[in-house]
């Protein structure tokens, strides 16, 4: 049964570890904050308890030692210092590891674990306080069934006070409890029960002896009495025999004791001779009842696969609903039109809801970045403040998944190449401590993420030279400042000549750009020498649903994402004739444009008015020439199949209400490809 919940425990533990890490960062800057210390202790406690419960005994034991340290701290017997924090960070990594591998029986693992525990114990011992022995290990052993080896016999005497019944304790339950620990022979002594004339129903007149055979420890037995200690006289005596209950002569002894109402002694039992015989220890049948169940849980965990499925189903529904609308309009029947409208309303709400569910806050990934900055700056002997703004910004979880690696790379770059060594910073009149700001905010339908460092910055001339050397541009190419920085994202470009241990892992900024491009995002870089570098990511909030403009090119329909559109102009043929080399003049401004009929190899059938859609491209505006604008359209984007994967100008397809398919244009790539093609010519 426990296995069923194991996966849940692992998931929950990852959250706990995350929380632990986060709290530890806070503690590093505020070492005496009690609240944070409590939070850390609690997270460790949960890991320990759950670990033992769900079969992660190594993890549980390891965490126990760590918890001991923080228990000392919270009881003011030990003070937090940098060493403890560093050790704890390292220990968290070990906990993560143990959670991953589980209880492995590997000599190296064990040695490593043991060495680590000794390091932790060193810290807790300097606190000079004796701590309780690890409970978890013994507790695990105790949960084994009683017939296991190592069982012992005990003689237990319980003599409750007269008034034990008054405060609601039922001594029989104590006997039950003892019996549950193994097998037991219970002897009741009731000779003190008075005659009816003196009998007080609320007084106790009995005492008991229990001969118990169990694999549990004396402490476990004592636990049974913990709440009646001061209302009873209790004695627990271990017996020499390991299983006296199997002794054939025991029955006589017990029978005599009961008939004579005389307590048995340890000596009597220990001197008992005789052979053993098997006895049945049939477990009690648990009663089964089925009844109405009541659940009150404010939030719950759902597997991401299910959410993906939900979003997928909802997008199917949106499509079908559009078809229904179309049909209803055509039919002209009021009832159906009404029905279709109501369904449309519900579908919208459902879509918004499903969409919202699939969003998760950026916060969930920030811990890794924070940790990276901390570990890396220690490794490189740099001092860096990592500032987070906008951690509560929410993004589609698929986007966040794609975002983590590129961001790790970007931040790694900032720490490694951006921020200077402290003495170099002082020489340049900066504070010795560098700052990296991670900033996220909404901008229209997109989310902007910036990584800003106040490091040495990047020299544009250096980039230029490098690009020439690598043959990416020739030395006559005129480039704007922005274009120069964009060179960084070309494949085959890497400014660091030597491959450093930190960021030179064969992943360049070109990969970052590619990864971000996969989620329809854009990345750009800006830098000022001596002042620092800013990396900017512009990301869509979701991948599955976009607001689009439906347009017609020849006989086909296409969708252009509205987020990219600046303006739509109606162009007359006459006006159009004055264009030169794909540049058009509108309101005294010149815009380059792309004729989509050319792009999609349609015949130029246009007559009369055409539409020019101005879309944003980096910091410019570029026109897209289409035959007709049909209207705004909220649409579900489906990925193109395997065979069309290389189709760069198209980011996906969308099914229209009438069942036809429209391609969704990726304007950034379209314009980019067009521009590079032209250079090549």
């Amino acid at each position: 049964m426990i296995d069923k919940f194991k996966a849940k425990f692992v998931e929950e533990s990852l959250d706990n570890i995350n929380d632990l890490e986060e709290a530890l960062f806070l503690l590093e800057n505020d070492m005496n904050n009690r609240e944070i210390i409590e939070r850390i202790f609690r997270a460790m406690h949960s890991l320990k308890g759950g670990g033992a419960m769900f079969g992660f005994n190594h993890l549980s034991e390891f965490t126990h030692h760590l918890e001991t340290v923080f228990d000392l701290i919270r009881n003011d017997k030990l003070a937090v210092d940098n060493d403890i924090i560093s050790l704890t960070f390292e220990a968290i990594d070990q906990i993560k590891h143990l959670l991953q591998v589980g209880d492995v029986d590997d000599a190296d693992e064990k040695a490593h674990q043991l060495a680590f525990i000794q390091r932790i114990e060193k810290v807790s011992n300097t606190g000079g306080v004796n701590t309780e022995a690890p409970k978890t290990q013994s507790a695990v052993a105790e949960s084994k069934p009683a017939e296991e080896d190592g069982s012992k016999s005990f003689l237990i005497h319980i003599k409750p006070n007269d008034d034990i019944l008054k405060n609601g304790t039922n001594p029989f339950y104590l006997l039950d409890d003892l019996h549950a620990m193994g097998s037991a022979q219970v002897l009741a002594f009731a000779k003190e029960v008075p005659g009816l004339d003196q009998f007080q129903p609320i007084s106790n007149y009995c005492q008991w002896q229990v001969i118990l055979n169990t694999s549990e420890s004396v402490n476990e037995i004592k636990d049974v009495f913990i709440f009646v200690e001061d209302e009873c006289e209790i004695s627990i005596e271990p017996l020499n025999s390991s299983n006296i209950l199997n002794n054939t002569n025991l029955k006589n002894l017990v029978d005599t004791a009961i008939s004579e109402q005389k307590l048995i002694t340890k000596a009597q039992l220990d001197s008992l001779e005789g052979s053993s015989s098997a006895e049945d220890n049939a477990p009690k049948d648990p009663r089964k009842r089925t009844q109405l169940k009541e659940h009150k849980i404010s939030s719950m965990r759902v597997s991401s696969v299910k959410i993906d499925e939900l979003v997928n189903l909802v997008s199917e529904l949106v499509t079908i609903q559009a078809q229904l609308n179309l049909y209803a309009e055509k039919s002209g029947e009021n009832d159906i039109v009404n029905l279709a409208e109501n369904i449309q309303k519900l579908t919208r709400q459902l879509r918004d809801n499903a969409f919202e569910i699939s969003l998760i806050p950026l916060q969930s990934e920030l811990m890794r970045f924070q940790r990276l900055v901390r570990d890396l700056s220690k490794e490189l002997d740099k001092e860096i403040d990592f500032v987070i703004e906008g951690g509560d910004i929410e993004l589609d979880k698929n986007i966040i998944e794609h975002l983590t690696d590129p961001l790790l790379h970007i931040i790694r770059n900032s720490v490694d190449h951006g921020i200077e060594m402290p003495d170099e910073r002082i020489k340049n009149g900066k504070s010795p401590k560098g700052t990296i700001i991670f900033k996220a905010y909404y901008s229209g339908a997109s989310v902007i993420v910036k990584v800003i460092d106040d490091g040495k910055g990047i020299d544009p001339d250096f980039i230029r030279e490098k690009a020439i050397k690598k043959g990416l541009i020739d030395n006559k190419t005129e480039l704007s400042r922005k274009e120069v920085f964009d060179l960084v994202f070309l494949s085959g470009f890497s400014t660091k000549d030597q491959v450093s241990d930190v960021s030179g892992r064969g992943v360049g900024m070109d990969v970052v750009k590619k990864k971000i491009g996969e989620i329809r995002g854009e990345v750009s870089l800006d830098s000022e020498m001596g002042k620092g570098t800013t990396l900017t990511l512009e990301l869509p909030m979701t991948l599955s649903i976009i607001d689009g403009l439906l347009v017609k090119v020849a006989s086909n329909q296409y969708v252009i994402p509205i987020a990219n559109i600046e303006k739509i102009h109606a162009i007359d043929d006459i006006n159009f004739g004055s264009t030169f080399s794909h540049v058009i003049t509108i309101d005294d401004n010149q815009y380059p444009y792309i004729d989509l009929r050319e792009t999609f190899q349609e015949e130029a059938v246009s007559k009369g008015t055409e539409q020019l859609i101005l879309v944003k491209f980096e910091d410019k505006k570029v026109g897209l020439l289409v035959d007709q604008v049909i209207g705004e359209y909220q649409t579900v984007v489906k990925a193109l199949g395997r065979f069309l994967k290389k189709q760069e100008n198209i980011s996906g397809a969308s099914i229209m209400g009438d069942g036809t398919i429209s391609m969704v244009i990726d304007t950034n790539r379209l314009i980019h490809n067009n521009a590079t093609n032209k250079y090549k010519k």
Partner: protein
């Protein structure tokens, strides 16, 4: 009539194991994620037993017990601790606060059930 058990634990996996164990046995189960959260169930309805963790955010197990014992309606209901903590001093503190019993994690379901039936008179 089915007995109602209020489970209070900040660990979801523990909550689920306890919940599963008890519902299987026919108990009605209420679930609180910490002491603070659990208080919302103590609104006069019938609760037969409370099983609570010790270390929890917002309001811990001891705090919860003290609050419950102040309420006229719940002054005498049994409250069991279900915790990894095994220190005798903690147990004493719990007892003084008004706890009825103590179950140590990790637990086997049978042990939990017997502890509950024992206190449910």
């Amino acid at each position: 009539m089915a007995k109602t058990v209020l489970i209070v634990d900040d660990s979801e996996s523990i909550r689920e194991v306890v919940n599963f164990t008890l519902e299987n046995e026919g108990y009605d189960v209420l679930v609180g994620v910490d002491g603070e959260d659990a208080l919302k169930f103590l609104d006069g309805r019938t609760i037969d037993i409370v099983i609570t963790d010790l270390h929890m955010p917002n309001l811990d197990g001891l705090g919860l017990i003290r609050k419950v014992r102040e309420m006229e309606a719940y002054k005498h209901i049994p409250i069991l601790f279900l915790t990894t903590e095994s220190q005798a001093s903690k147990k004493m503190e719990a007892k003084q606060a008004g706890a009825t019993g103590w179950i140590i994690k990790p637990f086997v379901p049978a042990k939990l059930l017997s502890a509950i039936t024992r206190v449910l008179r």
